[in-house]
């Protein structure tokens, strides 16, 4: 995992403004990939950012069919473009036991970041958000702190600090 998709000079930080308590799942119920994706997308609907979770889920699954978005080290970043999502959205979820996610290292995903965004003519932010997420969780110490965070506020602070490192 590399820390950024763009050269440092052109790198802007976006993730912070996407982190919302209503888009945080402290502990996923599902231990399998597909129902976990369903839980993540349901959160987008619960936050009223889509009225069509089935269609959003389909776009996420389709991306997944092109290769797992499990990155190893307990990280997964499922993502998709979906016409029926109102704005770029990041749902953050944890799983202490882990989700069986078909990762290259075989490790279950414990930190999951769902990124969904409507189609735009040009959208560098989408890829930048992906890069920021991957970069923020590159250290084992940060990942552990995120798993141990008692509440969303703490989780958010740790993640935001890590994006600036």
């Amino acid at each position: 995992m590399s820390s950024a998709a763009l050269p440092a000079a052109s790198r802007m930080l976006f993730l912070e403004e996407y982190l919302r308590p209503t888009l945080f799942i402290p502990e996923l119920k599902s231990k399998r990939k597909d129902p976990a994706l369903e839980e993540l997308v349901a959160q987008v609907a619960a936050a009223q950012l889509t009225r069509h979770p089935d269609r959003v889920l389909e776009a996420v699954r389709r991306r997944e069919s092109m290769g797992s978005t499990g990155l190893g080290k307990g990280i997964a970043v499922p993502h998709a473009r979906s016409t029926l999502v109102k704005q770029r959205t990041v749902v953050v979820a944890r799983s202490k036991k882990g989700v069986d996610y078909d990762a290259p290292d075989g490790k279950p995903a414990q930190l999951l970041f769902l990124l969904v965004a409507p189609p735009l003519e040009r959208d560098p932010v989408y890829l930048n958000l992906m890069a920021e997420i991957v970069g923020a969780v590159r250290l084992a110490r940060t990942r552990q702190r995120l798993l141990d965070a008692a509440d969303f506020k703490t989780f958010r602070r740790i993640l935001v600090e890590a994006t600036r490192d």
Partner: protein, 120 residues
């Protein structure tokens, strides 16, 4: 929780989402950056077959032609109407006749930019 959409717009929206994915995977810069981040990317042939099948489900031939033609120019061909504004070109739609009907389909076309409109 999911609300039902009318047939042509529902399939066209799925087609637009699929086209976005294919476009992203075909874009050498996007694909290489995703791979650098650690994402696995497989061959898109399967997706292209799915796309053919999906396009075949659009019953209104003329609407599909409009979509195919517009999607060569724009990423966003199917756009929501917000209030009375087409979110593709930001033009207000006329109040009397808000949209021009596309054939007998339930889809509307923006008179200004030609995008296919839906209400969300």
């Amino acid at each position: 929780m999911t609300e039902a959409m009318t047939q042509p717009i529902d399939i066209l929206i799925q087609l637009q989402d699929l086209d976005c994915l294919i476009r992203d995977l075909r874009d050498p810069e996007m694909a290489s950056q995703q791979q650098r981040l650690g994402f696995a990317l497989e061959d898109i042939q399967e997706l292209e077959r799915s796309r053919e099948l999906l396009a075949g489900q659009v019953e209104n031939e003329r609407l599909l032609q409009i979509y195919e033609r517009m999607s060569r120019r724009f990423v966003r061909v199917i756009v929501p109407v917000e209030g009375r504004v087409c979110t593709g070109c930001r033009m207000s739609l006329p109040t009397s006749d808000p949209t021009r009907q596309a054939d007998s389909a339930t889809c509307d076309i923006c008179e200004n930019c030609g995008r296919i409109l839906y209400r969300r």
